[in-house]
């Protein structure tokens, strides 16, 4: 199963208002090509994608939050799964594109190439709906079901290493990503986030 095909099918299922948090590496470049949107928060560094998604999902419980995580990213802070589960969230679809390697870091094997079973770990951490899929058809079925059912869903998609040819370069840095996403939330939620002069005081 190719990661790009999974993401392509996911993009077709998403509501434009859905917030998507992605890790750094090939996933964010592929996702940006497939679903460019200011509702994306791209390039969250190793170990932190799930944590950032947790902060967003708790703060905006009426918005659907999809996390596009990597096996290496999640493995660094596995406890994120327990912290997410303990919040009893109803608006999370956490997808791990598991290529069993650190593809963005040279391609060496991750622990999921060995004995680690992320869906099993998630289940044991208290995540109520955790599954592993190995075909595009399975992925589409589980993703559609997860997106249409309130809850906390966790999907491990076993994918091949490698991306697609001629993927556009991601020209966004973290600062611009921050401003774009924050302005999007300000506009869609009617809140003020950026305050060059903090007048609350």
């Amino acid at each position: 199963m190719k990661r790009f095909d999974c993401l392509k099918s996911l993009a077709a299922l998403l509501d434009p208002s859905t917030i998507v948090v992605t890790n750094v590496g090939p996933i964010c470049r592929e996702w940006n090509a497939l679903r460019p949107s200011d509702a994306n928060l791209l390039q969250v560094n190793l170990g932190l994608c799930a944590g950032v998604g947790l902060g967003i999902a708790v703060s905006l419980p009426h918005r659907q939050v999809v996390m596009l995580d990597g096996d290496g990213n999640l493995l660094l802070n596995l406890a994120s799964l327990a912290d997410l589960a303990n919040q009893n969230l109803n608006n999370v679809v956490h997808i791990v594109l598991d290529n069993e390697s650190y593809e963005g870091g040279g391609g060496l094997k991750s622990a999921t190439a060995g004995k680690a079973d992320l869906a099993g770990i998630a289940r044991s951490s208290g995540v109520p709906n955790a599954s592993t899929v190995t075909s595009l058809e399975q992925f589409e079925t589980v993703a559609r079901q997860s997106l249409s059912t309130p809850g906390h869903h966790f999907i491990v998609a076993k994918v091949e290493k490698g991306s697609v040819d001629k993927l556009p370069t991601l020209t966004l840095d973290g600062k611009e990503a921050k401003y774009r996403f924050a302005r999007h939330i300000e506009k869609t939620e009617g809140v003020q986030i950026l305050r060059p002069r903090y007048t609350h005081l």
Partner: protein, 166 residues
Amino acid sequence: MEPAAVDAVVEGLKKSGVDFISLMPDSDFSVLQDRVAKDKDFTYVPVSNEAIGVAVCAGAYLSGKRPALLVPTSGLLVAAWPLTSINMAWSLPLLLLIPYRGDLGDAFWMMGPYKDTTEPLLKVLNVPYAVISKNDEVAKAIVDAQGSTISWQRPVAVLLTGETIK
């Protein structure tokens, strides 16, 4: 922490507009943690390590919340990586409250190394900070730190020592 210090911290957090608190459970902050967990003015997200806490607060801030992270002294070292890879790289604010174990007068051998790491690490990370030792200075320090972190778009820390963490 004694009740007067806990009151002062909560007063400062509320005056400064903080409405979201993440923390890693810690003995120095345990009474305060229990208090904020039960206070409906705060969205409360306990985490299993401080790195996750920094990430959670980043997500909360970008969603319109005003987060603060309560960081155990040693946990600042754990938080250093996401403070670098998220807050420094993206230029994101974060109010950090840190009990300053290992400050002069802390007569427990295990806390000694944190005199060597805490302030130097904040300096390396370019995190401005205030060291507060009196209960009656706590609330204002938190309010000042919050105003600076939001408007400067970088983390700011308040180190609590002396009578504030007795």
